[in-house]
Amino acid sequence: MKTLDYVIETSDLTKIYRSEGKEVIAVNHLNLKVESGTIFGLLGPNGAGKTTLIMMLTGLTLPTNGSARVLGYDIVKESLKIREKMGVMPEAFGFYDHLSAEQNLNYIANLNDIPKSERVKLIEEALVTVGLLEVKDRKVGSFSRGMKQRLGVAQALLKDPEALIFDEPTAGLDPEGARAFKDLVLDLNRKGKTIMLSTHLLFEVGPLCKSLAIIKDGKAVIQGNVNELIEKLMAEEGYRIKVEGKGSVGSFASTLTVVKDVKEIKLDGETIFIKAISDIRTEISEIASKNKFIVSTIQLEEPSLEDLFMKYYKKEVDA
C-alpha cells in the first residue's frame, strides 16, 4: 500500500450556506495539510467552520468551491471510500438509546460490511479499548455523557481505520474523562493512526497536538508543526531566558547588556529574566564563566500554545 505524505489536503476549499436569502461563508478558501501519523489540532472558537470542514472531508456536505483529498480520495467523488477507511466521531452524534452498546456497535459493523466472523472480535476489542466491555449489554440510554463519548470512539475504531477525526471530543466530559480520552488518543497515535482533533477547548487537547491549524471565520490563520510554530513565535516575539545563580546577580545582569541580541533584562529577586531576539544561552554561559558567576539555572522559556493561539487569533481579530 502506498504511504501518503498527507492524510488530508485541501485546496481553496470553500463552503457557503444559503439561508433565508443570506449567504454565510462557513469555510473560506481553506488550504490545509495534515501529515500522516500526526495528531493534528483543528483549533478555533465555536462557529469558526471546523465542523463544516469535517462534514465536507467525510462527504456529508458538498463543498461550494475548491477541492480536497482525504487518504488520497476525492471528497466529492470518492466519499464512500473515505468513510470506509476513516473513523469519524461527529459533533453531537447519537446512538440508539433502546439498544445496548454491543447492539449499537453491531449495527455500525453491519453498515461497514464487516464480516460476521470478525465482528464479535472487533466489537470486543473496540469496547476493551474504550473501557466499556463490562457494560456492553447495558442500554445506551442509561449511559453517562462520558460513556457515550467513549462509545463514539469505539464506533470510529471498529473498522480499524487508517485515520480518525474527532469533533469536539472532550466537550462535556469531566476532567477524568478528558484525561482518559487524551491517553487513548496518544495510544492510538503510537499505534500509527493519524488523528485530527477539532476543538475550541485549547487546553484540553491542544497539548496533544504535534501540528495544528487555527481556524477563524473559515480561514486558517496559521498552521504547521507545533514546535516550528513556537520557534517562529519566539523569533517574532523574542526568546525568554531565565537565569539563576550564585553571586552578585545585579552586576552579572549588567554585564549581559553587551550581548548583541539582548532586547530587555529584568531582575526579580535573585532571578534574571532576559528577552532576546535569538537563543543566547551559550553567550550567557560564557560571560558567567568569565565573571565567575555560578549559574544554577539557565532556562529557555518557550511560549505556550495559549501564547500562540492568542498571538495569531488576536492578530486576525484586530485585523
Partner: protein, 326 residues
Amino acid sequence: MANALTVASKEFSDIVKGKRFIALLTIFALVIAVALVSVYLNVIQTSGAMPRGFLGLAASTLVTTMSYFAPIMGIALGFDTISGEREKGTLKTVLAQPVYRDTVINGKFLGALLSVTLAIFTASLINIGGSIIALGITPTGADIIRIIIFILFTILFTMTFYGIAAFLSTATKRTTQSIIISVVLWATFTFIIPIIASLIASAIIPINFQFARNITRPPGGNITAISPEMQQLQQKMREQASIISAIESLTPNYHFTRIAQYILGVYTGISGTSIGGGLGREQVDVASTPIMQSLISAWPNILVLGVIMAITFIASYILFTRQEIR
C-alpha cells in the same frame, strides 16, 4: 443492497418491538373486537340470522376500521423516520459510515413496508378469525381471495400515508412540526374535505328536503313506477354525489374506499357520506362480478394511491440525498 437490508432489518426490528407499534396494534384489536361484538349483538337481537354473508359483515368492520387505522399507522411510523434520527444525532452516526444516503432511505421504506404488512395482516387475521368464531360465518374461496387482495391495497394505502409522513419528516427540521402537519393533513383528508365537498355540492345542486320528505310511497309500498318527483330527487342526489366524488378524489381516503367498494362490495361512506349514505353512488355486487373485473374497475383508484406513494417516496429520496448535514 446489503446495506439497505441492514437498515431495513433494524428499522423493522425497532418498529415491531417499539411501544408505539404494540399500542397501535392493541388498540386496533380492541376496536375490531368491539365492532364484532356489536355486529353479533345486533344480529342476535334482530333476525338471529346472518343477512349478508361473510363479505357483508366481516368485511364491513374490516374496511371501516382500516379506513381509520391505516392512515394512523402510516403516520405513526413515518412522522419521525428522518427528523427523529436527525434530532437524536443517530443520522450523523449512520451517515459517517460507508453508506449512501439512498441506502438509508430505501432501508427505512423497506423496513416500514415489512412492519405495515405485518400489522395489516395481523389485524386482518384478527378480524377474519373473530368473524368466523363470533359470527359463525364461513368465508368462501372467493371471499378469501378478495380479502387478501383488499389487504394488499390496505398496505398500499398505509404506505401512502407513511410516504406523506416520511416526506414531512425529511422536509421539516423538527419531529413536532412533522407530526403536526401529518395529523392536520390526515384530518383534512378524512373529515374536512368531505365536509367541504358536501357543502359545495349542496350549494351547487340544492335539494329541497322538505319536498323530499313529502314524497310518500304509493299504496302497497312497492316502488315499481317511480314518480317524476322521486326521479328528479334521485337525479339531484346523483349529481351531488358526483360533485362530492370529484372533490373527494383529491384525497387518498376516497380512492381507498372506492377500492374497498369494488373488491369487497362494501361502501363504508368513510370519506363521503354525507348525503344519503352513499345514495347515488355506483352499487357493486361482488358476488356476481369476477375478481379480475373488480380489479379492472378499481384500477384507476389503485393507480392514484400508487402514484401518491411513489411521488412522496421520490420527493423524500431527492430531498434527503441533497440535504446538508450540519
